[in-house]
Symmetry: C2
Subunit: 257 residues, 2 copies
């Protein structure tokens, strides 16, 4: 679509959305030993943002989150989870994004819609970046992974806070739930798994101690080494035992249950 | 206020609220060996509801939750936590509440406001019911504690789902975090604490095993018995060691950290 068509399309759509309520998706992925976040760069602007959008008046909120993510990035994630609503009055005054809407002759209905105060629900998903190719939508120049903390600034509004909050959240979660099933490839080494834990926790873990503790959970399958070439020197490959993994998710790593 | 004054007051206030977004508070308390929930009964109607309300256009969402709870119940809780937003399109078609607004000549602005689709953020707090006296607001006949599952029906809309969700949530939390500080009186017996755990988990726990596990956490102070009368037969009283309790909250009961 060219810009004129986009405006016409938006003007048509705007009345179908609930005013004052938005959705932003925090997709966290593990690659190259670090946690990354998926962000978009607006066309003709230096601003970056989480993939976000609005809820249709006749649409369940959870389905809206799926649609928004897909429409902005081409990505379908069935397990988006509500992280937290961000609802301070001034959240859109921080790193304010001056879009074309602010200075071009857009229809008043569009301007009014965007000028409302918005409360935004942040959704979270943990994914393996290798498993899909993000595609930027018509409003965006690029859609790509950046290491958390090295996202090209400025992120609009309170999107940096959303990413921070998501990081704190999974840092807490990993202490009492198994994690990694959706983040790692199907088969991985013990080093890969420890690397993920270290990336989430933000500090190093003792190699032997980690292996002992994680094996004790009995959530891993160990695969036999392929006995060809120098493979006997290769490390063991593991995969998650999905049944045990889910059982442990349900009962937690805590001891009172 | 008489009903006429209430309507005038509401008409004045209604424009100061964000349309389409509400707040409902799930206050869970432990008493008489069971988890209870705080609910209101509307005047001149059989409907019961969680204490709920709206967000002012110039008010942070978290502060709105405090104000709503206070204005509906007279209760101030500093640690309300976002539980989940309930956002299906049809959530207010379930157990629909026909209020006077539906059949009396209320101002159109009020009718329009209430006819919008609402997404509601459910907030959660765990409290000790002995520590405050709930006071119903002008719209309500009573404001009282009922055991979960024995709340006088029908609860309006999806409020029963909110309570269910809160119960599932704390049932999961108690498996990997210490719980009880805000629910129990300052001093309690080991039986009291186990009773709370049993009420939350929904099943009995082995007496000796529970005591061993909970003491191992080192989150309790044991108090010396008062040596007067038959007191030597009385059980030990405990209180939470707040510093250790908070440390454990932070690191979780899981073993990878």
């Amino acid at each position: 679509m060219n810009p004129k068509q986009q405006v016409e399309q938006l003007a048509k759509e705007i009345n179908s959305y609930i005013p004052g309520m938005s959705i932003d998706c925090v997709l966290l992925g593990y690659k190259e030993g670090r946690m990354h976040v998926l962000v978009l760069k607006f066309k003709n602007a230096d601003h970056w943002a989480l993939p976000g959008g609005f809820i249709k008046k006749d649409e369940d909120m959870e389905l809206a989150a799926q649609r928004v993510l897909f429409s902005r990035t081409g990505v379908t994630i069935p397990f988006l989870k509500q992280l937290r609503a961000f609802g301070t009055v001034n959240r859109r005054q921080i790193n304010k994004f001056y879009s074309p809407i602010d200075y071009l002759p857009f229809p008043q209905a569009i301007k009014d819609f965007f000028n409302e105060r918005f409360i935004s629900m942040a959704y979270l998903a943990l994914v393996n970046p290798e498993t899909f190719v993000p595609v930027p939508d018509d409003f965006s120049e690029v859609c790509e992974w950046h290491p958390i903390g090295e996202v090209p600034y400025p992120l609009i509004y309170d999107h940096a806070d959303m990413i921070d909050y998501a990081q704190q959240y999974i840092r807490q979660q990993i202490k009492y739930q198994p994690m990694g099933f959706s983040l790692l490839p199907e088969r991985f080494t013990m080093n890969d798994l420890r690397g993920l834990y270290e990336a989430v926790l933000g500090h190093e873990l003792d190699r032997a101690n980690f292996q002992k503790k994680i094996l004790k959970l009995e959530i891993l399958n160990r695969h036999e080494k392929q006995m060809s070439g120098g493979a006997h020197k290769a490390p063991y490959l593991y995969s998650f035992n999905v049944e045990q993994y889910n059982k442990t998710l349900e009962k937690g790593l805590g001891f009172i249950s």
